[in-house]
């Protein structure tokens, strides 16, 4: 790819990357107060990596996010979500009832929502990165 020859693109990408990732985290953990949540945050986080892969090449992106780690994160999000649900069952509630997670039901709800939103975010981000790296990796092979 000739993309990594352009100094302007490289510098701008390096400046943008932290902002994109920080904004993703803001959307992730501010989802209860403003618009957004795990899903949108995951997509934005993934887009940061997509931009990186576009400018610095798929190989460099693979070194930052190895397929093995991505697979782990992809499954980890779903497991975290399900785990929160099962934790509710173990504490005497029904599946995905967060009120029983803490003595104060409101606190339990907030904890549960925060955790499952994090699970959603990680799975979505890993899915976006995986999909892009696979598609872009095919191109390089040919």
């Amino acid at each position: 790819m000739a993309m990594n020859q352009h100094a302007v693109l490289r510098v701008v990408t390096k400046l943008l990357m932290p902002c994109i990732l920080l904004f993703a985290l803001y959307v992730q953990f501010h989802g209860e107060f403003g618009p957004g949540g795990g899903f949108q945050a995951g997509v934005i986080f993934g887009v940061g990596f997509v931009l990186y892969a576009l400018i610095f090449g798929v190989g460099a992106a693979r070194r930052v996010a190895p397929p093995g780690v991505l697979r782990g994160v992809l499954a980890g999000g779903v497991l975290l979500f399900t785990g929160v649900g099962i934790a509710g069952v173990l504490r005497g509630g029904s599946f995905l009832n967060y009120s029983v997670l803490s003595k104060d039901p409101l606190l339990g709800q907030e904890m549960g929502i925060l955790l499952i939103e994090f699970g959603v975010g990680t799975t979505v981000a890993a899915a976006v990165i995986t999909l892009f790296l696979i598609f872009a990796g095919q191109e390089q092979k040919e």
């Binding site: 949540g37 993934g46 779903v78």
Partner: protein, 182 residues
Amino acid sequence: MTLLGFLVATALFVVQARNLFVSVILMGLFSLLVAGLFMVLDAVDVAFTEAAVGAGISTVLFLGTIALVAPKERPVAPRSRRQLLPFLVVGATFALLIFGTLDMPLYGDPNAPIHVYVAPRYLEQSATEIGIPNVVTSVLASYRGYDTLGEITVIFTAALGVMMLIGRGRKFPRRRRETDEA
């Protein structure tokens, strides 16, 4: 209304365009317009998702796919009688869908089923039951937790499917041999 007009115009251009690259960019524009429409309807969360996924990720994935296949659409076969059947099917479906909307309550009708079923309860009880300001999040994550769990399972499965179909992980030696031979 202006947005809706732009939407229709963009959709027509997408169908018209023979160059797939043009189509993909126009699809991105279409998504952005839909996101704007959601903003006008005060659905901020949905607009956010539409702008990020529809206009962002989908466009990038489409472009990645175009890089793998030819950028131009194959010329359509000349007009024949066989094209009458698809036209009839599409026309009948269109008529059925329009017929289906006749029964729907008017837009913004406060007595519509969607406004009198569980929505008022969510809006009134959310603050005391869940305790977070964004009702959309409390509905998505808590009241409708099962749906969200299903949603991310779908995403997980989709990524898994792509990985197994065209991924080249070390876990799939058979596929690797195939690509090496080719």
